[in-house]
Amino acid sequence: MVADAAVAPVETADPPARGLQARAWLARRSEAFLIPVGAALAGFVLFGLFLAALGKSPLQFVDIVYRGGFGSSFALGNSLQRAAPLLFAALCVALPARLGLVVIGGEGAIVLGGLSAAAAAQPLAALPPALAIPLMALAAALVGAVWIGAVGFLQAYRGVNATISSLLLSYIAIALSNHLIEGWLRDPASLNKPSTLPVGDAFMLAPMPGIGVHWGLGVGVLSCLVAYVLMDRTTLGFAARIAGGNVRAAQIQGLPVGRLIVGFTALGGAFAALAGFFEVVAVQGTANGTLAAGYGYTGILVAFLARQNPIAIMPVAFLLGGIEASSGLIQRRMQLPDATVLVLEGLLFLVVLASETLYGRLHLFSPHLWATKRAAAALPAGAPA
């Protein structure tokens, strides 16, 4: 579960020239970008071969994904709308991942977050929306934080594996939520689709101006930026990274590993719960069984494709939103089943993960290898390479 600590590049004895230094900097930077992009392209090519083997046109597929997901303002809006919950769900994976935990139960936090927001709306009904809506968000975030924070707590203080406990807690959350929605919290007027009482029009958020997508997108982007700053620009994030790399080293340095784990998992849970909150206040208006729409599971995919980097989560969520947005058109124009998108996503996921092995090993991106090669070239012919 603990990611391998990066192997420090072997510095060579002879000092590189200035130009070489710049190229080395560029090489290292572009590695983090070009390897996943190249892997994703390879995934698409493999999927194209799969389609071709079935007698379907890969080019038509690309064309449809472009038109369905990206080629018009409608398509872009569609992709962005689908990306919004994925941003939150992916953060619920990426933040704990920094500490070496693989959390796959974000779906439960989404469902409970939505339920809490809807439940909080009733006692807050007398308040002005500008006050009540943030309080609903807070209620959602708190419940999500407790739920996924418990996963971190169990890992840190009881040694219970986070992957398994988050999965179990997710099933339990969905059962609990169904129980409440069809019991205590049910709106008696919700006849054939059991739901909570509606939060009311006053508490519903209008779409973001200009793009017609709900505010979950804006807040989601903001959350990714906050998470990036936290993880890459603060001591807390740095401490988390050390603890994620090597727990024992972190403990020796006196870092509060347990509290870091609980804190980062709780934060991840709070973000996931916000996806449920927006589902209620910006989309559905009530909490009902549809809250478990699978965003939590797609979020896992997003986080891993983004290599747990909050900045990269944004374009990846957009890309996957686009692919899912074009799913309908793929069914209608190519007579392919809805599962086509699942196959593509699985393949992309697999290839991008496999490409992890390339880091630090591709000659183009590895200045230390350039030097080795020059050294090797300088060796007399016949020497073992």
Binding site: M1, L168, L169, Y171, A339, V341, L353, E356
Partner: protein, 307 residues
């Protein structure tokens, strides 16, 4: 039909349910035990299970033979296992993540190719009526035992024995406990893990065949409700012990039968909570048996899960 059995019927239903529902859990958890004993974790067995269910059903429809279906499901599962093992032998690749990817990929492929097989009926796997001695139909039904259940039970015993007493079992355990020690002894760690993951995949595929060809005995996209994932959890509280896997699978299967059985005797409130009972039970057992200070008893030393 005999009269009311009252609460006895709940017990009979739980026993029957344990036998009916446990087999996929049993096969997947035994497969995962082999894989994890070698030091790798494969979370993708859920995808393998679903693909196994689809390919078994499709083969049975096309050939008319359910056993051909079981064979194809096992082969397909082995292929997924090889894929997992192959990708994970690349340095720096995270086995948990690859498992999640394979879960998606296997499920996707199963749904993709499975569309054409939702409608047709496949011949089911045979069962042995061990309840012949009773004239109570409920007991007769509960004790109709599928051959795969017996195979799984025998396999649990065999694996338990083999891990202790055979060279192959020893090699898998050494590789799982310390890759360095295994290398020093001259074993190819990656190859052992590749085969262990493939073997795990074969068993998971067969578990899927049970789902589609015996119980519930039909192919559709809702056939698995996470049995493959839950089986991975079962392995942990079974402490990587095949015999304990058998017990855990029975327990989990029986817990799953509790909800419907309770409703049938009039306990009708809160069925969502009863349905969640197996998950609560598993989590409670995990919490009770884990400890922050030491590695889990019986845990393979190389397993990322227990580090």
């Amino acid at each position: 039909m005999s009269g009311d059995l009252g609460l006895w019927s709940v017990l009979i239903a739980v026993v029957g349910g344990a036998i009916r529902v446990s087999t996929p859990f049993l096969f997947v958890s035994l497969g995962e035990t082999i894989t994890e004993r070698s030091g790798r974790i494969n979370l993708g067995l859920e995808g393998t299970l679903v693909f196994g269910a689809m390919s078994a059903y499709a083969t049975a429809v096309l050939t008319g033979s359910p056993w051909a279906g079981v064979a194809v499901a096992g082969l397909a599962g082995g292929a997924f296992g090889l894929l997992h093992g192959f990708v994970c032998r690349l340095p720096r690749v995270n086995d948990v993540a690859v498992g999640i990817a394979l879960m998606l990929f296997g499920t996707g492929l199963a749904f993709f190719f499975g569309k054409a097989f939702i409608q047709p009926s496949a011949p089911p796997l045979p069962a042995i009526p061990f309840g012949f001695w009773s004239d109570v139909p409920q007991i007769q039904a509960a004790l109709r035992v599928n051959v795969l259940f017996l195979v799984g039970a025998a396999l649990a015993v065999f694996l338990w024995w083999a891990f202790r007493n055979t060279k192959a079992g020893l090699i898998v355990r050494v590789v799982g406990d310390s890759a360095d020690a295994a290398r020093a002894m001259g074993y190819d760690v990656d190859r052992v893990r590749l085969f262990a993951t493939a073997a795990g995949g074969v068993l998971a595929g067969i578990g899927g065949a049970y789902l589609s060809l015996y119980y519930p005995g039909s192919w559709n996209e809702g056939i698995s409700s996470g049995q493959g994932l839950m089986a991975v959890a079962l392995v942990i509280f079974a402490r990587w012990n095949p015999l304990a896997c058998f017990a855990a699978a029975l327990l989990f299967g029986g817990a799953g039968a509790l909800g419907p059985a309770l409703q049938s005797v009039g306990v009708t409130q809160g069925y969502y909570l009863y349905y969640a009972a197996p998950y609560v039970l598993t989590l409670a057992l995990l919490i009770a048996t884990s400890s922050p200070d030491r590695a889990l008893a019986g845990a393979p030393g190389e397993l990322s899960l227990s580090k």
